[in-house]
Symmetry: C2
């Protein structure tokens, strides 16, 4: 059985649980406590030298880090994979956008504002304005796309939508006002209505 | 003919020129001056609302941003594409690693230390230590992998190597000492010896 090394509250880990559930792929979850640094210890680093979850571990011991690479792997050949060469390129373009222009602001703001101790947040307070500026820019880019398209990876729901849903649906936790992005709000509802959808908090 | 909207000095744009050259795909280059903000003006934003290069433009007007999505698209079905489902997952994992854990430190350090005006760099000086710490961590992760493997996307040279070469080969510009990473240094030489390789500065 596949083992997902994860933190339940992480949107990146949620992407993998959501895709696996919709694909009917069973996972064993190995949970890492948020603040205890287990992913930076030698046992974990031997499996992923970058010291991060999510990481997927196969029965033969192979390991695969990076949320978007994991969901790409799990979905290959399924209805969650983009259909054509052009759709694959679009999906990847949005998945790289998410990791470079969206997650570093929207997920990071959520982490510090919702999960960090107050005295730790105080050390990051000077960064909040930049997280909000750049995170709002990313939400604006998504809203522009969704004003003309239903989905991110072609003409149907795909792993590109799962990748962007992971942290967009919980952006309010980081102080973002999703009501300012009506096309995003409608898309969030479409994603949540897909067959087999599970919320972030659902235990596996 | 495909048009690559680009900045010659950008490692992300270099990835596209290098892959296209090795694939025998002709490109027309449209150069954007480094500091004049053209990519944030309405004409450009209509093509890429995220306001960034590289962006590939097709004859029918379609546009594709994000360096790694572009080289994935150009390479599909060629010898530069990873061979198997597992190799594709590995390649994508490293390409997402590059955009999340490598480029934001190694490329950003290079930009500010080599290309920014001194008075602008002064405003960023307090960030240099973090760029170096996290960039060195990324080079260490690469060196660990390359101590056991020749390439990043399976058993042959692929777009995953091109993606990581883009900013690794010029890391010294950002104050990194590549001699500390012997497996990386040997891999850089292997990449540069591949048929059809071009340096970053080569005009198309």
């Amino acid at each position: 059985m596949l083992v997902l090394h994860q933190m339940q509250m992480s949107g990146n880990c949620y992407k993998v649980r959501l895709a696996a559930r919709q694909l009917g792929i069973p996972l064993v979850l190995k949970e890492y406590p948020l603040h205890d640094g287990q992913t930076r210890k030698p046992d974990f680093l031997a499996k992923n030298p970058n010291g991060r979850v999510p990481m997927l571990e196969f029965e033969d011991g192979r390991t695969l880090p990076e949320s978007d690479a994991i969901i790409w792997y799990l979905a290959e050949g399924s209805l969650l994979a983009p259909e054509s060469k052009w759709d694959r390129a679009q999906a990847l373009s949005w998945m790289f956008f998410e990791q470079y222009s969206h997650e570093p602001y929207i997920a990071v703001a959520r982490f510090w504002l919702k999960f960090a101790a107050k005295e730790e947040l105080a050390k990051k307070q000077h960064l909040v304005a930049e997280w909000h500026e750049k995170g709002n820019a990313a939400l604006g880019v998504m809203n522009t796309h969704l004003s003309k398209h239903d989905w991110f990876g072609g003409s149907r729901y795909s792993i590109a939508d799962i990748a962007l849903y992971g942290y967009t649906h919980s952006a309010a936790d980081g102080g973002f006002n999703l009501a300012s992005y009506p096309a995003v709000t409608k898309w969030l509802a479409r994603v949540a209505a897909e067959h087999g959808h599970i919320p972030l908090a659902e235990s596996w």
